[in-house]
Symmetry: C2
Subunit: 243 residues, 2 copies
């Protein structure tokens, strides 16, 4: 019996994966994943078997990995960012069910909250919420409630999936909700194409963010009440200076 | 002029750092940090200059790194987990001030929300909040409000700093607040000594968590309304099976 390793490869460039993830990909027999993520690592691991499935075939991809492990192969399923944060790890466990075989190992990676924050400065130094604006698997009402709760509790916020072709205005709607509670000049940031060609960052106010252009390769950050722009960086102090 | 790299080394074992962090530590002149974190990497980078400061000397440590960079050295300041999440990156930017010199580069690392979740299964597959129970730099009233907001909005929660010698009962107090809103049987988990000797995990209910023993090397996870224990793993489904 082989095993399934659910590997977070971090954002884009293989430089952003951990030594443990790199070792897992070097030692496995098969690398499975959405073709965009498999293509990010293909050149680095020559001689492996590569299997890809389309974006909406998540369950099929996990079943495939489990089947290959039952046939004796050591399978690495690659996920962008962290394999546990909006990743495939939970679905692999769900599909495996109550019998804990084949073995599953979740190998975490840098999620966009961490890598995007580093690109913008240090906006998540204090308590924060991570919220996806995709309503493919969550109702908009739930998303709205979470945005309101985070704003009311003065949590910094990392927004995943701020827009896609089918929902170009979701970030604007989210900003509208936040602006009922937070000031127009609240410092915010957009991290684009983290770790990939075209990586860039933009620091702006919440009022400006409402009209900003974003796509599915953006991660958006909303500061808390203490967040400032210092030396061109988006910074949420933790308070050590006065601690 | 040298630069300051604020490097998240992930949890414990250097295997958990990224290739980029490893390269930064290989290429720097000086490694600065709290002695416990410096000791984790000391053997891996022979020939470097190592400088350590005590735990409560965070500002002194950052000033030292900036001074060394001004003297022309390339400095890596090591932080456990991610350098931006409850790490030193914000303080370095604060102390550097409005003049963006010397150059500062934040190199993110695996934060305990990611690495602890992977150890327990996949409890953070959906929206979540990260909240520290340390009231050294935050009022308990604020912490309480954030716990309430996260519970009301059905966010999964990762609790950092659930206890220390000076506040052994804080996790119990936090669970008491959560239990006013969440059921006794809500699945939870404790990740202990992630990536270090003595690494272990415990899956339990919120009712049991209230009486659990934790220390400063623990990260605690509270599931959302969908979180289940499946095959011995703590799993928050994202909904792909029905998506």
């Amino acid at each position: 019996m082989g095993k399934v390793m659910v590997v977070g490869i971090g954002p884009g460039d293989p430089e952003n994966m951990t030594l443990r993830a790199d070792r897992a990909l070097r030692n496995c027999d098969v690398i499975v994943g959405y073709h965009v993520y498999v293509d990010l690592v293909r050149d680095r691991y020559p001689g492996k078997e590569f299997l890809t499935t389309p974006m909406t075939q998540e369950a099929r991809r996990c079943e495939l990995a489990l089947e290959l492990a039952r046939e004796g192969k050591n399978v690495a399923m690659v996920c962008s960012g962290d394999s546990g944060i909006y990743g495939m790890a939970a679905l692999v466990y769900e599909l495996r069910g109550e019998n804990p075989s084949p073995e599953v190992e979740v190998i975490p990676g840098l999620t966009a909250a961490c890598s995007g924050a580093a690109l913008l400065g240090a906006p998540l130094t204090h308590d924060f919420a991570v919220i996806s604006l995709s309503d493919r698997l969550t109702s908009w009402e739930t998303i709205e409630k979470r945005l309101e709760a985070a704003a009311d509790a003065d949590l910094s916020i990392a927004l995943y999936n701020p827009a896609s072709r089918g929902r170009p205005d979701y970030l604007s709607r989210a900003c509208g909700i936040l602006l009922r509670r937070l000031p127009e000049d609240r410092p915010c940031g957009i991290a684009r194409n983290i770790g990939r060609a075209g990586e860039s960052r933009e620091i702006l106010t919440l009022g400006q963010l409402r009209r900003a252009q974003v796509d599915m390769f953006c991660t958006v950050f909303i500061g808390n009440a203490s967040t400032k722009v210092i030396g061109g960086e988006l910074v949420t102090p933790r308070g050590y200076r006065h601690g």
